[in-house]
């Protein structure tokens, strides 16, 4: 949250340190079905941020008491590869990873039709392969794709993006530099097709007006990302069609 380098974050031309406009996302790439063992999988890139998701299940959990009689339970692990960060990260789960696993699980739980699979577990494993800001929201996007790829029925697709405030200006899809030097970072995930915000966090300081504008900025971007998700899923099923 240092003050000095703010001039670097937004240039005199109103562009960000990497040349983006305030409401411009980094290049997004998505691909589903990238792993053979998992029931479903996806890799998602937001710029240099790269998250791999795998879904196993619905399946009987290893610990058999860990079930609910009327629906599946969801188990989510957000984990960072040791080489994903500038300084090597210890592979033991940090407090941050424990919190984010919970926040991501809660961002998915309302859209998955858990009642279809009572007494089972659906496991979502996220591995951050490279971290450059926005890993939790890219993780939600990857998880949504992997769940769809696994054929798990969902009310709607989910996607996420983080809005930040740097040099007094609201910006879309903050990267690591903007996150660490900016004034606020607000990760949001939503299922636009059913009008629900499923992840909402604010780390930083915003006025009420900024909060509402930032949220709406995020929701517009999320609609676009969900469209890209649909494209990516379509690409896969077309590819399968061609093979058949």
């Amino acid at each position: 949250m240092g003050g000095k380098p703010k001039t670097m974050l937004i240039g005199e031309d109103g562009l960000r340190h990497d040349g983006r406009k305030p409401d411009e996302m980094r290049p997004i790439k998505m691909q589903v079905g990238v792993l053979a063992n998992a029931s479903g999988s996806a890799i998602v890139e937001y710029g240099r941020t790269r998250v791999l998701a795998a879904v196993y299940g619905p399946r009987e959990p290893h610990q058999r008491f860990m079930v609910l009689p009327d629906r599946a339970i969801l188990r989510v692990r957000y984990h960072m590869a040791p080489f994903s960060t500038s300084e090597r990260k210890s592979p033991a789960p940090s407090r941050r990873e424990i919190e984010l696993s919970k926040v991501i699980r809660e961002a998915l739980e309302d859209v998955v039709l858990l009642s279809e699979y009572p007494r089972t577990a659906i496991d979502v494993y996220l591995e951050v392969l490279q971290a450059d800001g926005g890993t939790r929201v890219a993780g939600v996007t990857a998880a949504s794709l992997a769940l769809a790829d696994a054929g798990v029925p969902m009310k709607a697709l989910v996607a996420g993006v983080a809005v930040g405030k740097v040099g007094g200006i609201l910006v879309l899809d903050v990267d690591e530099l903007e996150d660490s030097k900016g004034e606020a970072d607000m990760p949001v995930a939503a299922a636009p097709d059913i009008g629900l915000v499923t992840m909402f966090q604010l780390n930083g300081v915003l006025s009420e007006d900024e909060l509402e504008r930032g949220l709406s900025m995020a929701l517009t971007a999320i609609e676009n990302i969900v469209s890209m998700e649909k494209e990516a899923l379509k690409r896969k099923f077309e590819a399968i069609g061609e093979e058949v």
Binding site: R75, D110, L196, V205, L215
Partner: protein, 285 residues
Amino acid sequence: MSITPFKMPVIPIIKKQAYLSLYEKGLREDGRRLDKPRNIEVKVGVLEKAEGSALVKLGNTQVLVGVKAEVGQPFKDTPDQGVLVVHAESVPLASPIFEPGPPDENAIELARVVDRSLREVKAVDLESLVIRAGEKVWNLWVDIYVLDHDGNLFDASMLAAMAALETTTLRDYEELETGEIVVKRESPGAKLKVNHKVVTVTTAKIGNYIIVDPNFEEEIIADYRLVLAFDENMRIVGAQKTGSGGMTLKDFKTALKTSKEVAQIYFKALEQALTSGSTQWAEQK
């Protein structure tokens, strides 16, 4: 790994309809209106050996916060700042659902939300904690100890943390010729410099209703809770949706409006505790 809670008490779920019927009349089981918090008691200075302390009762919820200040090293990338650590323990005496062991995801989330709400707005003046830049700084440990869990640990913990920090003193110390810092344990010390007061307000979505300061049973039946942190200028200095339900934009705006009003009640309770001065635990009797 975060897992859908699968061992929740069933009673509240059975009672959900009864709760909803009451909400329709604008009331809650304990007679409160939907937008009112429970009775708040804030006692500061309840521990003599901690550098700061406060006991908060929010209805039947009791949270004790102790602040310890120790001489330590700064982080490498912030040589000119002290270190603030917020930690929360779900000690098993507080609730039948707590078990002995390291903090679970709920306790970690609690500590991290309180931490960020303090940190991002620079509530504690970390620069004033430097003893010798780059080498020796005060490490402030804010330990949240839930003693009795009847819901809304976020707001109770934030109130207790804030009250404890506002009454924290840093012991006097001496610098030896070797450079070592010797703390004078029995000294009264100087008051910790606090830049901003922060409270969080938690609302819960239950059925079609948004209620404030949920008790334990209300938390169980809620779709989600929204925790909003405010400073004394009513800037939003932190937020967290917790729980697995999705939130509409309309509900978000309603919750924000209600939360702003309740924040004033919390700030008032905090102010009263700080002006009424130190309170002994023994008075609790």
